[in-house]
Symmetry: C2
Subunit: 148 residues, 2 copies
DNA sequence: CACATATAATAGCAATTGCTACTAAACACA
DNA sequence: TGTGTTTAGTAGCAATTGCTATTATATGTG
């Protein structure tokens, strides 16, 4: 009579976001915004569409997240010289010190969350969740093809 | 250079919700609403506050979810004879056939998500995520006490 | 009893998200 | 070149969420 793994994952993810947001309320950065900043710091110059795919939100949702990050002076859109419809996303220098803080916070939350798990168990957890994510991600793609 | 378990859990949970919502778009029931219905079917008569705690949302959020379920004729508030501030939550008979459908959908989504995992791996996954959830949940409680 | 404090639920507001429809630009191909 | 299709991104709208403040009721204490 245990709960479904779907409920369990959703609850846990919500608690993760809540723990993170509670620690970063001052900076006004949410868990999802941080995700974008973190990705951009490692892969500058990506377009909006592919980044929306990567973080698994709708393109319009990412578009408005970038609006807010631009307003906050943390990110910027640069024209793509090869395609006038597209924007290339970059961080501003202002984002770097903030990212350092956020990384520390992220590590702290993960440390809390995985307290009592051995290194092997953490690896096992990540591997299993990744397989579930891949299953659901693949399904999504198949569904899109079906509708063609 | 792997991604944090926090990001991974959030992505996977979002994909779960998306897969579920895509299959139930006709019925207009979301993954979180289903969660409420499912809990009420097994534990009728709970108050709003405790149920909000259980599904880990704010009380006001649950209150408005119940508003919608009442409008849809699926749930109802009954006065608590021992406390005139409180409501006791119940499902209506209308909810039962819907719940059967939703359970089938839920099982199908979980089957997709855990495709390729052995029974032992599914148990292991659930056990590990549950430990993470418990860590974060416990922390939440501690934090509330700190603020007193 | 009087009065302070705590609790259950809700209203107002602002922020975020996604669905749908749309614009502009690129591409395909006769 | 012309024309139809696809792609990148965005605006409008409705729905949902959480923070803060508020109402009504319950409980504790002198």
């Amino acid at each position: 009579m245990s709960e479904s793994i779907g409920f369990l994952l959703n609850d846990t993810a919500r608690l993760f976001r809540r723990a993170f947001n509670a620690r970063t309320r001052d900076s006004g950065i949410t868990a999802l915004q941080w995700r974008v900043l973190s990705y951009l710091s490692r892969h500058p110059g990506i377009r909006q569409g592919p980044l929306a795919d990567i973080i698994e939100v709708e393109p319009i949702t990412l578009s408005r997240m970038i609006d807010r990050l631009e307003e906050a002076g943390l990110a910027e859109r640069r024209a793509d010289p090869t395609d006038r419809r597209a924007w290339l996303l970059h961080l501003t220098p202002l984002a770097e010190p903030l990212l350092d803080d956020l990384r520390r916070t992220g590590r702290a939350v993960v440390a809390e969350a995985t307290e009592g798990l051995s290194d092997a168990e953490r690896d096992e957890l990540a591997a299993l969740v990744e397989r579930v994510r891949a299953n659901l991600s693949r399904r999504e793609c198949l569904k899109e093809k079906e509708t063609l």
